[in-house]
């Protein structure tokens, strides 16, 4: 029972690492990095779902009868694109924030905002 699920547990651990970085980090870029890790581990989770023991990659070829499930792959392809889109936008925002605030630390930005109030 433990062996059968270990893969998922590793994924969960990775996911939580990423998630932890997102919420605990004060540095904006690191937050985005955490977000990427978080998302990528979700992708790994999906792909694990589609894996079938003894099967091969879902490209029809001679001499193979069992293929892994192609659907999760498709979903993850889309999700990867979404991920990179989010990353690009987030980083662009960081560049602007840096220009406007002169800092990329969450606390400092908050402080500057409070002062302005």
């Amino acid at each position: 029972m433990l062996i059968g699920l270990y893969n998922y547990w590793v994924v969960v651990a990775l996911m939580m690492t990423g998630f932890y970085i997102v919420i605990a980090q004060g540095n904006l870029i690191k937050k985005i990095a955490g977000l990427i890790i978080f998302q990528t581990s979700v992708f790994i989770f999906y792909i694990s779902v589609g894996k079938v023991d003894g099967a091969t990659a879902p490209i029809v070829g001679d001499g193979f009868s069992q293929y892994s499930n192609p659907l999760p792959h498709v979903l993850i392809l889309t999700a990867i694109v979404v991920g990179i889109a989010t990353t690009a936008l987030g980083l662009a925002l960081i560049v602007r924030i840096r220009e406007a605030y002169g800092s990329i630390e969450e606390d400092e930005i908050q402080k500057k905002d409070d002062q302005a109030c």
Binding site: L5, M16, F43, I47, S48, P58, S68, H73, T78, V81
Partner: protein, 307 residues
Amino acid sequence: MLLGVYGLLSASFFVAMDAVDVAFTEASVGAGISTILMLTTIAITGRSELASHYRPTLALILVLIIGGLLIYGTMDMPYFGFAEAPANLHVSPRYIHDSMQEIGVPNLVTAVLASYRGFDTFGEVVVIFTAGVGVVVLLGLPGRRDENDAEIELINTSMHEQHLVVRIVSKVLIPFILLFAFYVQFHGDFGPGGGFQAGVIFASAIILYALLFGLSTARRIINQPLVQLLSGVGVLVYGSVGLVSMLNGGNFLDYSVLSSDPIAGQHLGILLIELGVGCTVASVMVIIFFKFADRKEALHYKPRETK
């Protein structure tokens, strides 16, 4: 940096999991594009980190709760790699068994991606397009060129003279990369690959060029407004394939009606939409890179704004 490793690592994991196409994409995205973007951002914002301040306890508790919930959720999951799991029994068998007759594309992922779930892919193209527009909005519009182009170039050449060997090697490599991109684009039906991957590879060739020969040189070759237009054209191509199939009496994105023979129609449709995808992705990636790089270059001249 380490993130790039993570990208590579997860990609090799995907290979082990039979997800060739995903590995392909993750390789080019995780290790390539997002690393480059990260680096550019770091270069712009500066790497000097202040003493990092964590707020660990609360975050840790939250993470533990959520992680615990997930572990709890895994308890009833079918085992990893279990062929009889519901996920592998319900919808996907049709993709595996019938798609050769229905679509005739050996790469099942391409078949599902482009035809069965073509609309998702359309959405994906639009997401990328949105990101491109968003980055353009955030980081300035094309045409706003710095006056001191010549000066920038001076710096650039001085910077790149050092890497003479790299430049020559890359010069040889770039045409091959472009060729390879086309191979990936059109070979996607048979092997791993497809529009998205091809687009990314194509864009990375251009990025390589820009890195080594300076932005202004690259800018001379690549007309930014045109590239921007191209990103829209890709979406339009995809959409109009859908509309044409609608006019031909099918449903939106039903490629079977594009030609008298359904299989040929499917092939045509997949080819066209992959082209659209490739077009949009390549141009958006190039745009995004240029926007970031422009910002960075501008930073070299203006003293840092202190507010």
